[in-house]
């Protein structure tokens, strides 16, 4: 029951710790379908072998988006050396390769899938972009911090900022308004659209376990991929999360999929998040903070001293030194005189 006999078809790269790699989770959600074996080896790059609707898939988690073949994550590299980035393209490719989780769907259900995916891209995606990247508190406290921590040294200074600018640009183009800025008004509009979209999804789901029948399909993957980050990430400004939690059937849908298909990852990252938060609050990394405080105090002291010396506010008493070197008996009177002279000067 594993990847043993099947040959490796494709390699899928998602950002490290895909929970917080928000784009990555949309595609990771695809990976769960029909998977039977998920093994993770420790080491520099975590590799997970998963079967997606029976498709042998090699999963590489990388934290630097520039190392991915297309320059952005997630990216699917096929054995024809093509690179696909959009989740819908990846689904289409996998379908063409005959790994089809939608095999059991009727024609009408297939059409409905496509329609609901469009609905989510149009209504929910802008709100997601806003809540993770544009909303000031969320961006500073959660997104930027997470990305900065997980990127190698020189990149963590400017790459999150660049990603944020890209996302703002994308939002502006999606809404067709060049002068869009973060604010109450925009937030209300986007969240209203997103809330409506979630309500529509909830109405469509009803009391079923999955959207179509008893086994999951690509629509389930897509919905899960978009809703799971909202549900799981603890954001300071959590209006979307509140609304989602008020829709019981969607919440159950997400937790159900989590338990069924991401048991280890779900528990591991969730506990990571909670432990980070329990240490967190005001003191982020205690040892680093102490060291930084000490270093900065030292630097300040050194700066003050050298300034004082250079301007002559403080002068070092060289006479003391000389007096101590010479034998005190013979030069007693002379040294006393010297002392007074130096002292006045």
């Amino acid at each position: 029951m594993g990847c043993g006999g099947k040959e490796l078809l494709v390699s899928l790269e998602v950002s490290n710790s895909w929970w917080a790699g928000f784009e990555g989770s949309a595609v990771m959600a695809l990976v769960y379908l029909r998977q039977e074996d998920l093994t993770m080896t420790s080491g520099g790059t975590k590799m997970a072998y998963a079967q997606f609707a029976g498709a042998p898939l090699k999963l590489r988690k990388i934290s630097n988006p520039w190392r991915s073949p297309s320059g952005s994550l997630p990216a699917l590299r096929t054995n024809q050396k093509e690179t696909l980035s959009r989740p819908s393209d990846i689904i289409i490719h996998l379908r063409k390769q005959k790994f089809n989780a939608d095999y059991d769907l009727s024609a009408k259900e297939g059409a409905d899938s496509l329609a609901f995916i469009s609905l989510m891209e149009e209504k929910l995606m802008p709100a997601l972009i806003y809540t993770f990247w544009i909303e000031p508190k969320n961006y500073v406290d959660v997104t930027r911090r997470w990305h900065a921590e997980h990127m190698p040294f020189p990149l963590n200074f400017f790459l999150p900022g660049r990603m944020q600018r890209q996302q703002l640009e994308k939002l502006r183009l999606l809404r067709g308004d060049e002068r869009l800025e973060a604010g109450e008004e925009l937030e209300k509009e986007l969240y209203r659209d997103a809330a409506e979209c979630m309500n529509l999804l909830s109405q469509r789901l009803g009391s079923h376990k999955f959207f179509f029948g008893d086994s999951p399909s690509s629509l389930d993957a897509y919905v899960f991929g978009h809703l799971a980050p909202i549900l799981k990430c603890k954001l300071p400004n959590g209006k979307l999360q509140q609304h989602l939690k008020s829709l019981d059937n969607l919440t159950n849908f997400c937790t159900n999929i989590l338990q069924l298909y991401f048991p280890k990852d779900g528990r591991e990252s969730f506990s990571q998040k909670t432990s980070a938060h329990s240490e967190g609050g005001d003191f982020d990394h205690v040892p680093n903070k102490r060291r930084k405080q000490f270093l900065s105090a030292l630097v300040a002291l050194g700066a003050m001293l050298s300034y004082a010396l250079l301007t002559g506010m403080v002068s070092i008493q060289h006479a003391h030194h000389e007096a101590l070197e010479e034998p005190p008996d013979l030069q007693d009177i002379g040294s006393h005189h010297d002392h007074e002279d130096e002292g006045d000067g």
Binding site: K108, L119, L174, R204
Partner: protein
């Protein structure tokens, strides 16, 4: 439109009935209007006819600039101006005319989803073909778009619009697509619509809804517009139930216009 403005508009709309002198503005039909704008305009006209609301169509060269959101078409009713199908549907609802009242929740969810599908795939594909495909852009879109203006304004405006549309395509991930892939997406979309329509006469029940108007607007325009290649029209024609759907709506609601 902001929430406060929308609420205000609904209140104002509810105050008066639909007047006789409502007008719809679009760019010049013969020389200027492009595929995507023509489709949106036809969708709105079809919707208003389905509701039984009279409206006069005026063609103006600067319609795009007159529109409050910059999109075509827009209607001028009483002392209010509303653009795009979504807000127009809400506006007419506030006046008491609605086509989707008879739907239950699940159906309404599906209707909204399918409308987004058409906007997301068909409209974007139309924009792509018009502005990102070099041959179409050079031969058709740029000359038509800038026909009312003289040199050098026509060049500037045409290139500005093209640049703007290309940026949007890049932002939503369509920038890297080839024309073949776009045609493929159009086929997928038409297949989805065809499967949903099945053998019914309209998408929901026996009555048309705004979804029918939207689909009609886009498909009819694609079928009757001449582009550099007939590939797009061919893709749509391969679904016979969609063809008969378009014909049926044309005969029912546009019979005085059909030539």
């Amino acid at each position: 439109m902001s929430l406060a403005a929308e609420a205000f508009m609904s209140q104002m709309a509810a105050a008066e009935p639909w007047p006789e002198n409502a007008t719809l503005y679009q760019p010049l039909k013969e020389d200027q209007i492009l595929l995507s704008d023509c489709a949106s305009s036809l969708a709105v006209q079809a919707y208003l006819r389905m509701c039984g609301l009279p409206v006069q169509v005026f063609c103006r060269a600067n319609a795009e600039y007159m529109s409050p959101s910059g999109k075509i078409p827009f209607i001028h009713v009483g002392n209010q101006v509303v653009s795009e199908l979504g807000p127009i549907v809400q506006f007419t609802k506030a006046k008491g005319h609605s086509l989707s009242d008879g739907l239950d929740d699940v159906q309404r969810a599906e209707m909204k989803a399918y409308m987004e599908l058409v906007n997301n795939m068909l409209l974007t594909a139309e924009l792509y073909i018009q502005w990102c495909d070099d041959s179409t852009a050079t031969e058709i879109s740029r000359p038509r778009y800038s026909s009312p203006y003289s040199w050098p304004l026509n060049k500037i405006l045409a290139y500005q619009k093209q640049w703007e549309v290309r940026r949007k395509m890049n932002a939503i991930g369509w920038g890297g697509k080839t024309l073949e892939q776009v045609y493929e997406d159009v086929s997928q979309c038409c297949q989805a619509l065809s499967q949903r329509l099945g053998t019914q006469s309209y998408f929901f029940n026996k009555q048309p809804t705004e979804l029918d108007a939207l689909v009609f607007g886009h498909l009819f325009t694609i079928l009757t517009t001449r582009l550099t290649s007939t590939e797009l029209a061919e893709r749509v024609k391969s679904y016979s139930n969609l063809l008969s759907f378009c014909r049926r709506i044309e005969q029912t609601y546009f019979e005085d216009k059909s030539s």
